[in-house]
Subunit: 117 residues, 3 copies
Amino acid sequence: MTDIVRIETNQRMSRVVKAGGLVFIGGQTSADQTPDVKVQTAKVLEKIDGFLEKAGIDKTRLVSAQVWLADIARDFGGMNEVWDAWVPQGCAPTRATVQAQLAAPELLVEIAVVALG
Amino acid sequence: MTDIVRIETNQRMSRVVKAGGLVFIGGQTSADQTPDVKVQTAKVLEKIDGFLEKAGIDKTRLVSAQVWLADIARDFGGMNEVWDAWVPQGCAPTRATVQAQLAAPELLVEIAVVALG
Amino acid sequence: MTDIVRIETNQRMSRVVKAGGLVFIGGQTSADQTPDVKVQTAKVLEKIDGFLEKAGIDKTRLVSAQVWLADIARDFGGMNEVWDAWVPQGCAPTRATVQAQLAAPELLVEIAVVALG
């Protein structure tokens, strides 16, 4: 099992798992539940930056991302504004963005990523 | 193509695909459509255990999971209770859980996982 | 960074990313917004064929797919009809299909895949 590295693991989930050369970061949401998708997106991306750092890499290594928005008609533009500013030039991952109700009604955005270790 | 192993493949999908050192198990639902998320989650996780075994591994090798719930406000707690008891201590994958209507209205939960071979 | 290959990259996303031996294609939708899931599914799969070709492979290398439908009760059958005809015999990926509202109300289907390079 030394080939799987789990970071911030509890009984339910790990925040980060390194396996097979890839770094998986699960769906992250904002602890700051201000009802503004730009605020929440910025907080989520901060968390992802922190987890990438714990995995020994950074956002230039992003491979793939999934974004869930609680209200895609209202919040797609605001999320993208923060996202586009965060992605390093020339390093954008693949992405899929769909609407989904999240684990608490206050949550407006959740993002999961895969990166290369 | 000997580097891709497909298990229980039909014209629409494979239940399991091994590739690049990883084991992918597609979205699994419960054949028992009792309207109780704990029953359905237990059945889904049984199926996943079986597919992991067919791939030659077990749930200690989980890397990443996605959970879809038909009613996240009602069923998040029940699903988690069964999930938490199923995950081997110290082996939790990353996870993302969102609400989504599934392929039939009786289905309350669907889970897909990635593991390391 | 020569170990990550990004194809059709802009500031928001790449259409394709090759990393760790895998080929990731993000969520693709149809430019033809005819309100018919079969038309849109065919267009999405054409796009995916094109991106697989740009990655130097084809649909026999599919590992995993996610399908999102805007109306799963209405469109599951139509999407599957086009999908089943498209998948090469014996090469079906794992798959998960759920309902989700997509980035524009005209979009009926979105598909993301992972393949082996």
